[in-house]
Each structure stands twice: as C-alpha cells, then as structure tokens.
C-alpha cells in the first residue's frame, strides 16, 4: 500500500481528536452525573518505523490513550486510523485481525503475566487465538520470539515466579512479538525495573525496532528514557497534548511552560545539565472538572486572565506544535523562530518564579 505514494506516505497510525470519557454514575438509577475526561481531544500521527514518546504525569491520560488505540477501553469520540483501517469502526472480527498487528507491553511484569500459566501457555495463547500454524510451527515461532528477547527455549516450561523483573519484562515483550506485529504500545515498560536492568531492556527495545522495523508508542513518565528512545515526543497534561515536536526540538527548545517545568524537575547527575528548577504549585486537578480556559493555568507561573477563560490556540512552528496563549504572544513578538521563543519563555518563567519565591511570600 505504501508504495503507491512514495512521496507522501500516510503515517502508520493516525489519531484525530481522540476522546475517552468515563461516565460517573450516582444514585439508585445509576444516572450519569458527569464524566472523567481522561482523554479529551488528542491528535497525533506515528509514521512507520518511528517512535512517539508520550510523556506526562500520572493521571494525565497517557495510559488511556494507549489502551484506547487498541480498544482495550472504548474511546467515546474521534478517529484512529491504523494503516488506513478505521479502528473504531471495525467489528470484533476485523478488530481481531488488526490486533494481531498491534500489540502491547504493560508496565508491571509481575501483574501482567498469569502466575498459574507456564511461559509456553502465555506465549502460545495469542498464536492459538489467531489460528497461527500447527503445534510445531507455533513452537518454532515461540522459540524465535524468545531468542530475539535474549531468552532461551528452556524457559517455556517454567512459571513466571521463577524469573526476575527484567526477565519477566523480556517474556512480556516476547509475548507481544510472537504474533509479528508492526506496532507496539509500550506502557511504561521499564519503570518497574532497576537501573542496570532498565538499560538492558532499553537496548533490547531499540534493537528490535531496528531489526524488525517496528513502530512504537512509548508511554512513560521518565523523560530521560523517552529522550533516549523516541523520535518524536508529545507532552500530555490533563487529557490533552500541550506540546509535540521531534525529540531535539522538544528537549532543547521547549515552549510550553509545563514542558519547561517538567524538564527542569528531572534530577540530573551532571551539574552542567541542571536547569534552574521550576517548582510548580499544587497538584494536577481532577480530569472530571478540568479548569476552564487553558487546563494548566492554575499551576502555570505565567498565567494571565486570558488563560483562565479562553482555550489556548494551537501554534505550529515548523512541526513544533504547542497550545499556549503566552507562546502565541511571544511568536508575534519574536517571530516564528522556536529557539528565540523558547529562550523568551525561559526568561519569563524564571522571572515569574523568582518573584513568587521572594522571602515574604508563601511558606
């Protein structure tokens, strides 16, 4: 399909205005009284063979995005196109054939492997479900998948509890790979692992992507891991993407105040990389009652009246997309140069912070 339009291949995954709201029901009749807007209008594309890193804090909806793509939770609005198939319109049969091509690896390798099943049954389940080959052929597939993840065929007859966290995560990856998917949703796959083991799994994921030409949605709260693995990054806050760009632009020229704060909050070993820490006030508000206007305004050091009332416009600086009133004003002032705007934002935030932390305020 892709050879028809070599110039302008559509992305493998196209997500437009995705919405996943969970109803809040109350009372005897379980009447719906509200909704948790976990994902509220998310748009992104993932070109074939690339990795999109989706970052944000807990409760921002990043995991729900991953699950909505596979319809592990039903989205309530928007479109998901996977290789030009409308995922939301597929019936259960069509969905099954699509899911063979889209697999998922979850965060917790202790919770995601059934303790009462041998590794053989865990890996084989998907193959049986998708009617792949005979017994012998399936065994061959399983051995291959295990080998790719650095495990030997001897693990097949063992149970999950016999393995360490890093090995379990390899098994979970092997389970995802055994169906030869094109697209993987990786939901915090290394967060539960120790530093030295984490590096092994990161290398494995990177290798697999290159060897098998996989496309990843990499969901994580750990910015350093995302920076290392992703080609593009999208930053989520309260159910929406506030900024997205390729990894270099996003890391070196962040625009949105939330992205600035997020990057400054990551503790670094190297003194020269340490940025002045922007400490945000308060917690992430509840997604059932998101703030009016810009959702970040109650915690934003730069918020103004307009931020509290009007939803921010999207600004697109050569593929670097951001939703922010202040950025839009800076663009008018300094022109459409992301580097200059990023600089101006940094200066404004630093000034706002040093004002608010003067000795007589707070504490």
């Amino acid at each position: 399909m892709s050879d028809q339009q070599p110039q302008n291949t559509p992305a493998l995954l196209q997500v437009k205005d995705l919405e996943t709201h969970f109803p809040i029901r109350k009372g005897l009749l379980r009447r719906q009284v509200g909704a948790v807007k976990a994902v509220d209008g998310v748009t992104f594309n993932i070109p074939r063979g690339t990795t999109l890193g989706l970052v944000g804090e807990s409760g921002c909806g990043k995991t729900t995005v991953g699950r909505s793509l596979l319809r592990l939770v039903e989205p309530t609005g928007g479109d998901v196109l996977f290789d030009n198939h409308a995922v939301r319109k597929e019936n259960s049969r069509g969905l099954r054939s699509l899911r063979r091509r889209m697999q998922v690896v979850f965060q917790d390798p202790y919770g995601s492997l059934n303790p009462r099943m041998k590794i053989r049954s865990i890996l084989e389940e998907g193959l049986i479900l998708h009617r792949v080959g005979e017994r012998a052929a399936r065994l061959e597939e399983m051995k291959q998948a295990l080998e790719r993840t650095g495990l030997s065929a001897s693990v097949l007859e063992r149970y999950p509890h016999e393995f360490s966290g890093g090995q379990r995560q390899r098994i979970a990856i092997a389970r995802a790979l055994v169906l030869k998917p094109e697209f993987l949703v990786l939901d915090e796959p290394v967060s539960a692992l120790d530093v030295s083991i984490q590096a092994q799994v990161i290398n494995l994921l990177k290798e697999l992507k290159q060897e098998l030409g996989l496309t990843y949605l990499f969901i994580s709260h750990d910015l350093s891991v995302v920076e290392y693995l992703a080609d593009n990054i999208a930053v989520m806050y309260l159910g929406q993407i506030v900024e997205s760009a390729d990894v270099d632009k996003l890391c070196h020229q962040p625009l949105h105040p939330y992205t600035h704060a997020l990057f400054s909050a990551v503790p670094s070993v190297e003194v020269k990389k340490r940025r002045q820490r922007i400490v945000l006030k308060g917690d992430v508000p509840s997604p059932s009652q998101p703030p009016r206007g810009c959702r970040f305004h109650p915690r934003c050091p730069l918020s103004e009246t307009v931020c509290c009332e009007v939803e921010p416009p999207q600004i697109d600086l050569a593929g670097h997309r951001v939703h922010c009133h202040i950025v839009s004003r800076e663009v008018e002032r300094c022109g459409a140069d992301a580097a200059a705007v990023s600089e101006a934002m940094q200066v404004a935030i630093t000034a706002a912070i040093s004002d608010s932390t003067s000795p007589h305020s707070d504490v």
Binding site: E57, D194, S196, N203, L223, A265, S268, V269
Partner: protein
C-alpha cells in the same frame, strides 16, 4: 564532637529456610549534624534494611547480629543496637523521624491526619490535646499543605500522593528530630511533585538543621540533594565519597556502570547503552571474593573471585572497595 549517627560494622541477617541471609554485611556509615547522606543501590542491595536496622525496626526472622549504632544527641551517646525498648521509644519519632516510600500504606486510613500528627507530639512531649492539635496545624503550614485548617480533619484517602508525603514529613518533623531517615521518599511520586518534595526537604533542612539519611535508587536525586554518598551492592558499601567527588570521579566499576547505564538524549545515537550484565545476586548466592566480580568488566584476575576487597581510602575522603581502584583512578 562525635558524629550524630555512627554505624559501625553493622550486620543484619535473616534466618530463613534458605539459611542465614546477610542482607547487610558489615556496613559502616557516619552522618554529621545537619548533613545529608545518600545511600544508593538497586533493589535487594540492603539499603532499606540498613535504615530499618538503625531504628531497630527489622522484623523477625531478621536480626541485628553485630555492630553498633551510636546516636549522639545533646552530648549523650546511646548505642541503638543495645538500647532498651524504652530508650528506643524516645528515639523513634522523637529524636529520629522516619519517612517511608509509600505514604498510602504508612498512614493509618481510619484516623484523620490531624490526629496522626498530634499523636507523635503527645507521645514525646508533655502537651495537652489542644496544644498537640495546634502543633499539628503548625506542621501542616510548615510542609506547605494548602488549606491546612481543613486538611487537619481530612483522612489520608482524601489527599493526593504528594499531599500524603507532605503529611508524612510533617509527622517525621513534628518533634524536631536531629535526624530524618527517608526511605525512597519520592519514588512513588511524579517528577513535578518530586521536585516540590525535594525542594521542601532541602528548605526544612537548611532552616531546622536536621540531618537526613536519604535512601534511594535514583542517582539524580542524590546528586541534587546530598552532601555525601554511599553506594551499596549486595549488602556492602562499595564506594563512598562526597557527592561532588563521586559523580565527577566514580572509581568502583559498579558505580561507573550505574552512571553509564542512564539513558540520556546526548548518548542516543552513540550505539547501545552501556549495561551491567546479569543481575543483583540474592543473599543466598553472594559470590565469593568481590561480590560484584561476576558482573564486572574489570574482574580479569583470580584475585577478584578469591579475595574479598576491603573498603580503602584511594583518594583522601574517597573510599572504594575494589582491587583495581588505583588502576581505574589513573
């Protein structure tokens, strides 16, 4: 003057069906007044057991087998290893505060947070209920909980993770301890909330002069908050130095490996991440000789597998447990 806390040759072992498992095997540490010491290592290295031993909170089948923990305050030294339960009650929550990783499970769900802060104050000070409650309110102000008057009567489940951790800090600080032991205080929190908590801890430390023993697996957190660092591996301290020195100039192969295996935007295109092969051995399988030798790329001579290296001062103030520390130093 003696150090605030002086741990000497601490051995804590668990006696299980698998035999004697020495989780902490000869650890020595010392913390000065007002200082922050970071104790880093991966899961299973014994860092939490070291912290629990300090307050004698290790539950059976674990037991402190030898060593001493001298805690010196107001010119008076007590050895926490041999102290009576009565003396310990005084120390726990009074002179030494403790913050655990998971604030949801370490707060009692059926008491209001006001009650839980007041409880510590009433246990250690001669105060009335209402004085204790006033103190609880003060503490909530101090740890910057929003609307402290209302929060006083809130239950733990009504608070967010960051708020709960602030309450834990309030409890730990309520009796103005000389030392706080913080076991992974920010691991369960998001980065922006982690930044708030680290900021708060740093601020309280400089204002109240409290010393902190910070236990964490996150080297970044240590680099940004600690004065000195001890790296633990398989029950032993393998490297110890000031934070600035350790991160600029790591000498133990394990520390070097940990630092190199951190992913970073600047090393993304330079081939795979450096890894430490294998995994942390469980206490029943601690290797002979240097416990790190099966995973170590420097371990090329028989000496590494036969002879346990000692913790040596390789550069003034910089201690390393490795036969090759001098070579690595070059």
């Amino acid at each position: 003057m003696a150090a605030l806390l002086e741990i000497k040759d601490l051995v804590t072992a668990f006696h299980t069906s698998k035999g004697r498992l020495p989780a902490v095997d000869g650890v020595s540490l010392s913390i000065e007044r007002g200082q922050t010491l970071g104790l880093v290592g991966e899961s299973g290295c014994g860092k939490s057991v070291t912290a629990m031993s300090t307050l004698r909170l290790v539950a059976s089948p674990g037991r402190i087998e030898s060593g001493s923990i001298l805690f010196t305050t107001e010119g008076e030294s007590i050895d926490l290893v041999s102290a009576s339960e009565k003396q310990l009650r005084n120390v726990r929550g009074g002179r030494i505060g403790m913050i655990f990783q998971e604030p949801m499970t370490s707060l009692n769900p059926v008491f209001t947070i006001g009650d839980q802060i007041a409880e510590v104050v009433q246990l250690h000070r001669r105060v009335t209920r209402s004085e204790a409650r006033t103190r609880a309110l003060e503490m909530l102000h101090l740890v910057r909980v929003a609307d402290p008057e209302q929060r006083l009567d809130a239950y733990p489940h009504q608070l967010s993770g960051g708020m709960r951790q602030r309450v834990m800090i309030a409890i730990a600080l309520a009796c103005e301890p000389d030392l706080i032991i913080a076991d992974e205080p920010t691991t369960a929190l998001d980065v922006t909330i982690q930044a708030q908590i680290l900021d708060l801890l740093g601020d309280l430390r400089s204002r109240l002069g409290t010393a902190v023993l910070l236990i964490t697996h996150d080297l970044g957190v240590v680099a940004e908050t600690c004065d000195s660092v001890a790296v633990m591996y398989a029950g032993k301290i393998v490297e110890q130095a000031s934070a600035a020195e350790l991160f600029r100039h790591p000498l133990h192969p394990y520390t070097i490996g940990l630092l190199q295996s951190r992913p970073d935007i600047d090393n993304r295109d330079s081939g795979p991440l450096a890894t430490i092969p294998g995994m942390v051995p469980p206490p029943q399988d601690f290797p002979s000789g240097c416990r790190f030798h099966p995973r170590c790329s420097y371990a090329t001579v028989p000496q590494c597998s036969s002879e346990a290296p000692l913790l040596r001062e390789v550069i003034p103030g910089h201690f390393v447990r490795c036969h090759f520390a001098e070579e690595i130093n070059l």
